[in-house]
Amino acid sequence: MQPETQPNADAPAPEEQRREFLKKALSVAIGGATMVAPAAAGLAVYLDPLRRKAPPGKFVRVTTIEALPADGVPKKFPIISSREDAWNKTPATPIGAVYLRRTKEGALQAHNVACPHAGCFVDYKPEKNGYHCPCHNSTFELDGTIADENSPSPRGLDELKIEVRNQKEVWVHFQNFYAGHAEKTPVA
């Protein structure tokens, strides 16, 4: 761009300057207007995922009490439920997994397998009597609390609600939670 020159004898008359300005302004405005519709439509679709909500947590039948050892050792179960993936609906498909255990006192406890640090699938380590995340080494006690304060997970494993139905069926309220935060917030 050339710096603005001082008005001199060659400069167009004010009337002509105005017309020039009007032409430029109109070109920019019309040119810009032609882009509005495609840009807006594109942006709307691009932002559409923001409108999509995660399904609310739901109770899923996981197993029976008899399948859980009485000594507090957790067992891993897939969560089989219906799943919506954009245009597909699948009635019964794995949507996640839980560790389920029966404490020595007989209480049931369920944890989402996803590490609250970054979402990896945590392993149960019998020799450590707890959980260990294979990615960044977060460690958890059997009851899901953080085992090592210096390990990377900001909170303990996410505990899930349990209901026992028909005396022995274990139903777990399956839900995912945002990783990386100290507070446990359901994915929405």
């Binding site: 923001l50 008899e66 993936d85 597909n88 970054a118 960044h136 022995k168 990783a179 935060h181």
Partner: protein, 607 residues
Amino acid sequence: MKRLLDWFDQRTGYRKVTHEALHEPIPGGARWRYVWGSTLTFCFVVQVITGFALWMAYSPGSQTAWESVYYIQHQMTGGWLLRGIHSFTAQAMNILLVLHLMQVMIDGAYKAPREVNFWVGLILLQLVLALSLTGYLLPWDQKGYWATKVATNLLGIVPFIGADLQKLVVGGPDYGHHTLTRFFALHAGVLPAAMVALIVGHVWLFRRHGITTKKPHKKRDSHFWPDQVLMDTVACLAVTAAVLFLCVRHKIFGTAGPLGAELGAPADPSEPFSAARPEWYFLFLFQFLKYFPGSMEIWGAIIIPGIVMFVMFLLPKLGETQRGHRFNLALLCGLILGSGWLTWQAMKQDGADPGYRLAVVEADRDAHRAAELARSPDGIPISGAASLLRADPLTQGPKLFAKNCASCHRFDGHDGTGRPSVDPQTASDLKGFASREWLAGLLDPARVDSPHYFGATKFKEGKMVKWVKKNVTAYTPDQKAQLQKVIMAVSAEAGLRSQNSADRRDAAAIKEGAALLRGDIGCTECHAFQKPDEDATAPLLTGYGSRDWLIRFISHPAHPDFYPGTRDDKKGMPAFGVSQILDAQSIGLISDWLRGQWYEPSPRATK
């Protein structure tokens, strides 16, 4: 010809353009240290060419991504080579980027008036990393799926907008079709388009300011064409050779591994993947995160990397003085050494972790098995390849056994997956259950009360053990031969695939054995065999070890056909079916696995 070119030049002016492009002066002559920029451009072109070809065969979608990549890798002519070149060239670009950056920094080519070009270069570097990250997911295998889950979860910790940001990148609240379509649009459209624009700008700015030469000049001045171009092509050839070598290295050395790039097992959110790691050039970031306790994660994941990148943008300003330049070089050196150290730490820790090594072995095995099942006559169903592994006895059997059976039983001394079982053994070892060898051990007085059979159970001093100890010990050689036939007869009931030919060959002996079983050897005094026996007190031998027998046994061991009336809730075997501990499919998978009944490619198909 000359006249034709003259005509073309008159219409287009191409000579002036090519002259402009090629006759760039290089004071001090062409040098090897100037080749890196050209090798990067070359790699980008390779990626575009191979990328377009891959695009023609790739289908983003939860049920088609892995499947189409499998098809490219294992079915299409040259597919493995195409994927291999694309994958290894991407990896080579990351190394070449570092070399290019080092050369630019050491030679001072980032300083005024070339700041803008340095910044363009930094953005290009990030675009290459973004292309790597997006490309890693596209095969939708376990490796890419879990690595991407980590990467996108890290986005979620950005304050305020994290959750929305994550949703935009992932294409919704969960991973699926739209994660793939979005990553693919970025990988094949948006990012490469931005790369082209910035590469053009990068080269244009480079030419505008001219090359920053390394002094002192040792040779006389020359031009880009042909002196430097020759060196550049040689360097590109070296890159190509390295890439091709990496594609076929397993073949050359005879080691286990794929031709070209790896393809893991199909992504499955319910299937743990303890071998989850990012690509090797992101390992330093991965390792870095391990040092930050929970509340500090944002420092390791976002703030510190952000500050480093910001400082990189300031380098031209810092480098205006000689001291500043030295500081910059020290900083760059520190960053490279630091990243190298972190990478090495990550690899060292993994190498020393038996759990991780086993996870890698299992990941390779699942990957291999998934491809094998995909090649089977049934092929991949429309619901996708993840269901193949879920319904495969060879894959699921060991896991189900470890989870449900190994707290009492063993399989070849371990828990089915090769790990030792933590619980004490209180039931038999089921490797080769109902086979001739297994039954021979059961009927061997020296072994029948070993932990392998009844030794660890409440039947340790039961009727069967007593019978074997008392009678078999006293057998004459003739009777031993008879017992051998009985073993054949009982084992034939299982109809094991591994004994198919032996059963056919020994049909006469089996018939004899069946008669002895009812007669001289006297099994039917306790067991029922081939006809109903109200007074039987021991497990049914009709169909012993067959699929149906095993499923019924696992479902309901206290059934009158097996161990009626002996069940003790605390110690006895759970009724896995009747108590709804396992569904019918799982019991079927365990039975098939114990019986060695799974799909195996015919020897001809594997060639």
